[in-house]
Symmetry: C2
Subunit: 240 residues, 2 copies
């Protein structure tokens, strides 16, 4: 049996460990909040033709990149010092993966901001803004819900996000078809419509990343890898 | 001092650990070889108008996905059982990240195969194949070199890949400009040229993933995170 001194020491270690895990979660959610706002502001910059806001989004991406590197370092330090196992280990490994998703969401926001600037110089695109707004709101909601599912380790909510991803893909396909028709009607629209195409593509990718985060939440909670699994299979995993 | 028995036991453990690390590297390189061939075959399917080959590429993506899940599980088990530190820990964490890059390269190959099928149905695109071949060869060489740099933990070679990425971006920009002009010349080309646009985009992404792998190699060897760092800075890190 450990003596009193050991006990106190053990408590102290586990206390520190819990604090570090909590800090990792908090920092991850902070990064999530930042990239969420980056996507939101990039869409506003485009729709409101506001190139100053677009410039701000591009500049803020440096902060997103720094957060990625800090979080990776923090997670690696926890692995080295605390050697977590089971559910704690799954959480740290998942954070390492999801951080890279958040960084890519930040990149997509930067890309949208770049095209917002291009379009404000060339003159706004004649069509596609309704679709950008619509798909933009949809994927922003997914991203928000995915971060929320992570905060509460809610596998049911994560499952709902996996289901949404299919709908976004359908909306995206419909939107690109509409834009293609419009490009064919008048060649003067082509260059600007192409910019909107890239923006829609970026938004669709944001939805994919939200979905990746959701899959990681299910892995953290259930210990099963539901990537590359049909939603019906994932439902069985979550239902267990 | 440990007695003889401990020593033998320690040797045994470290032997097993080395075997597991080696197996992780080997499996990763196997997955790398597979996605390399997936991209190569997808390009051939497109250029040779071979939709059977494109179908094969799409079917093989399931194998890529399975390898991703297996490698992630293997890496997580090593973390749980062996609790590696320092350079070993960096290798395991890097593998977890790079596996996700390889899986995405596989997705890009699948996407190219999808468009190869679409184009073989619609009639081949009138332009852009030279560019696809050229950029395709370029990013395939980058991917190959990145995997080779990982196999030999060669930071100098990794640095060369980071430099190549800029050139691919320039080639990609030039190719999309050419295609855009061609779309404007004749609206009947638009739909097929769009397919080629998406293919070029997929190839450019393959280059990005090769670059991510290269950055991870530098991190493994030098212990410094050179993502989001200008190449000149990365050069200093590698030169140390």
């Amino acid at each position: 049996m450990p003596d009193k001194k050991d006990d106190v020491y053990g408590d102290h270690i586990s206390h520190q460990f819990n604090d570090e895990m909590m800090a990792l979660k908090t920092e991850f959610l902070k990064m999530g909040g930042l990239v969420e706002s980056q996507v939101d502001r990039a869409i506003h910059a485009l729709v409101d033709n506001d190139s100053n806001l677009a410039d701000e989004v591009r500049a803020t991406d440096k902060k997103v990149d720094q957060m990625e590197m800090d979080l990776d370092e923090e997670a690696t330090l926890i692995l080295a010092r605390r050697q977590p196992t089971a559910r704690d280990l799954r959480l740290v490994v998942s954070v390492i993966k999801m951080v890279s998703d958040l960084e890519r969401v930040g990149d997509e926001a930067k890309k949208i901001a770049k095209f917002a600037i291009k379009l404000s110089e060339e003159g706004q695109a004649p069509r596609g803004y309704v679709e950008v707004r619509h798909i933009g709101n949809h994927v922003l909601a997914m991203l928000h819900d995915a971060l929320d599912a992570f905060a509460r380790l809610d596998a049911e909510q994560a499952l709902r996000i996996m289901r949404e991803d299919k709908r976004v893909d359908e909306e995206y396909q419909a939107a690109t078809r509409t834009l293609l028709t419009f490009m064919m009607e008048d060649t003067r629209n082509i260059s600007r419509c192409m910019s909107v195409m890239w923006i829609l593509r970026a938004l669709e990718r944001v939805g994919d990343h939200a979905c990746n985060i959701a899959e990681n939440v299910i892995f953290m909670v259930k210990g099963e890898d539901v990537r590359h699994t049909p939603v019906e299979e994932a439902e069985k995993v979550v239902g267990r």
